[in-house]
Assembly symmetry: C3
Homo-oligomer: 151 residues x 3
């Protein structure tokens, strides 16, 4: 049982997976923070105690909230595939150094991606960090398919 | 191979993961149900046989459909991380009682979250059920990182 | 460690999971392609070098871009659950033939789903391919819950 967690590659995967998932989860509270500070909500029951006029204002979309939500969705589109492919990749028994390279490139790319997205950094900072993460995942998927293939 | 499925913690994880994923998947048919009963579609080909005037009406967003879709997205943002972190957590070999506490709090929170969201229950019911699920996942992520750490 | 990857069912799962995740990831670059060819962006910094008038035009939503994004989101809602349930299903030790049937139906359905969605094929082609994938995942979830159940 604990066998997997004695494998260095699997432990490295677990560490990096936990970090990027944590980062992704925290986009939820960050969205809530922007909703409250910008006064922009999506549900009637969230503004139930306000007057009719205030409700109308508070139920409008705000660009800062939408930006955090796009960043969150981008995480779902990229971090979730990384964790799923990374798990399979770790199980194919790669070299620790090669595996660490993939995991580190991905984690660093995605941490910077959030800074670039939420901080509105000028392009191509966001595009490059997106690309870095994607290439790490694609490379792992290629490695998985070349070592295991049963259609 | 079947080794993992003889571990009590892993079996408990599997059960709870299957239940919350099932719940999440069923948001798809629920969205379809609301699209048909509310007459609100997103694609031209879905209303191909209607007259031009009817099409225009049917291609508008409807608040009930959007609500179910927000609930579905919230599931993606919370249930997917739970399953991924929960898998790694189960592999670190926690006590069965501690593991069950995490899994049960999460499953109960998310089932209630859907009822609160789709049923438009007054706040803070939805906020609290969201928080319950999030705390369970954060606690598991903390446990994973404190027992395994290879950067 | 490499034990799992010597199991035929797990290897088949890994192959199909890698293929559908790859397909899902590639919706990202496809969205970027449509954003550039249709001239429809979501972030101010993506159109920073344009004139004020051009910016306004380029920051509008375009139906083709929104279609690809809906297809991508549908993938997240269906492919991610497939991979998570499929992993647990593979670990319960099913017959290779039964497992392959589930995996093949899912992979074929989802590949066709993308063609039907992005290619705007007339209904019910998209609805049926959606249903095919969903039934494969539901059947695996049922199998998981009937062989493992610890609440």
């Amino acid at each position: 049982m604990a066998q997997l967690m004695e494998d260095q590659v699997f432990m490295a995967f677990t560490t990096h997976a936990a970090i990027v998932i944590l980062k992704m989860i925290l986009m939820g509270p960050m969205t809530a923070y922007f909703r409250f500070t910008r006064g922009s909500f999506a549900n009637e029951e969230d503004v139930a105690r306000k007057s009719a006029e205030e409700k109308k204002k508070l139920l409008r979309a705000h660009p800062d909230v939408e930006r955090v939500r796009r960043c969150h969705r981008n995480d779902l589109e990229n971090i979730v595939p990384f964790v799923m492919v990374g798990l399979l990749y770790a199980l194919t028994g790669p070299e620790l150094s090669a595996a660490l390279l993939h995991f580190r490139v991905f984690t660093a790319s995605r941490l910077f991606h959030t800074v670039a997205y939420v901080g509105k950094l000028p392009q191509p900072s966001r595009a490059l960090s997106y690309l870095g993460g994607m290439l790490a995942t694609l490379s792992m998927a290629y490695n998985v398919l070349s070592s295991v293939l049963i259609l």
